[in-house]
């Protein structure tokens, strides 16, 4: 896959500097999004708990228990994202990077996505083995989970797609929405959405970039690039005669 400039680039996320302090200044729309992300799981937890209290039938018990646990997981992740946002804004977030397997990171991000939604898990379309990258595993899982959640936002009978490639010392994970209207990204207000802001800042802290491409009527794609681990970079150079040292 080429890294050539897309037809139109809506979000081109540069280095972390100059980005993080902006996170502390939330817009009205972003505050509304946070209320939404907290309010929905909270509504599920309190509502289903009341139903459990009022009705003892098996259908209610099964459904309510499952939904309460799912909502608690969502609430937990939403709180983690808000705390990360605060840490990013205050400049106190420190990464602990080491060589990690990108396949494991992607699998954990997908698993976290699946635990909190009935939306389809993105289909893995990668052609090559996942490379190793230099990353803080926990934070990269969080960033990719947020990207997947954003791109695979709309309920659909089809799944989003996820692919990986390597180029110029970087691993690139691309997530493409299932439908042309299938992600929050079709919503202009979502350009500054909290989740994607946290993801882009986390990826920038890793020395990578998050690019989002979207065109009216086209599927949206998020491309996350992260530096390869040193040994993977050496392997890339050895296997590509254009990149001799």
């Amino acid at each position: 896959m080429s890294l050539a400039a897309p037809h139109r680039l809506d979000d081109d996320i540069g280095p972390a500097s100059g980005q993080l302090s902006d996170l502390a200044r939330l817009s009205t729309e972003q505050l509304s999004e946070i209320r939404h992300d907290l309010g929905n799981p909270l509504a599920a937890i309190t509502g289903f708990a009341e139903l459990l209290h009022a009705r003892g039938d098996e259908t209610t018990r099964k459904e309510a228990t499952t939904r309460i646990l799912e909502a608690a997981e969502r609430l937990s992740l939403a709180l983690e994202d808000i705390l990360t946002l605060i840490a990013l804004g205050s400049g106190t977030l420190v990464l602990h990077t080491e060589p990690v397997d990108l396949g494991t990171i992607v699998a954990e991000a997908l698993a976290a996505f699946e635990r909190t939604t009935t939306r389809h898990r993105p289909t893995d379309r990668r052609q090559e083995e996942w490379p190793r990258v230099e990353a803080d595993a926990e934070r990269l899982v969080q960033a990719l989970r947020l990207v997947i959640d954003h791109i695979a936002d709309a309920p659909s009978s089809e799944a989003a797609e996820i692919v990986a490639e390597q180029s110029d010392g970087l691993a690139i994970v691309s997530v493409t929405s299932a439908r042309s209207d299938g992600s929050r990204l079709r919503d202009p207000a979502a350009a500054g959405a909290v989740g994607i802001s946290v993801a882009r800042a986390l990826i920038a802290l890793h020395g990578g970039r998050l690019r989002i491409e979207r065109e009216p009527g086209q599927r949206a794609t998020a491309r996350c690039s992260v530096p390869l681990a040193v040994e993977a970079r050496s392997h890339e150079s050895a296997s590509d005669p254009r990149r001799g040292r």
Binding site: T28, S32, E33, R35, H36, L38, G39, N40, P41, L42, A43, A44, I45, T46, G47, F48, E50, L51, H53, A54, R55, G56, T59, T60, E63, A64, R67, E70, A71, T117, T118, D153, A154, P155, D181, S183, R184, R186, D187, A190
Partner: protein
């Protein structure tokens, strides 16, 4: 006998499930939409008696849907569901023609009372109040 038909439009499947379970089983027909576009399609095809409308949905948000509903179905009762307690949201929804609001998290009893105010034939349901 035709049951009253309620369209639930919310992108969050947990909230849709909560609304479906709260409404009296056998007393209403529940139709579900997962986004604003689907809600408008189902309003045209299913002619609901009441719309429960989430305010913040991806793509076509509740405000868009409400404005369109008021043009095409001016008498359809609409209960707006929102996590946003900001007065501006309520003002906008009111100006666009919302009949009432429920702020998330809401109690199932609160929901039933709101629904019964528009569909009084459901008022006999005691499934949530007889448990104790």
């Amino acid at each position: 006998m035709n049951l009253p038909r309620i369209l639930v439009a919310d992108d969050d499947d947990s909230v849709r499930s909560l609304l479906r379970l709260t409404l009296p089983a056998g007393g209403v027909e529940v139709v579900e939409a997962r986004d604003g576009e689907e809600a408008l399609e189902l309003i045209s095809s299913h002619a609901p008696d009441l719309l429960l409308l989430d305010w913040k949905m991806p793509g076509r948000p509740g405000a868009d849907v409400l404005a369109e509903v008021r043009r095409s179905h001016p008498t359809l009762p609409v209960i707006v569901l929102t996590a946003d307690q900001a007065g501006s949201t309520h003002e906008l929804a009111g100006a666009l023609g919302a009949d009432t609001f429920l702020t998330k998290p809401f109690s199932p009893l609160e929901l039933l009372e709101a629904v019964e105010s528009f569909l009084p034939e459901l008022a006999g349901d005691q499934s949530l109040t007889d448990a104790e």
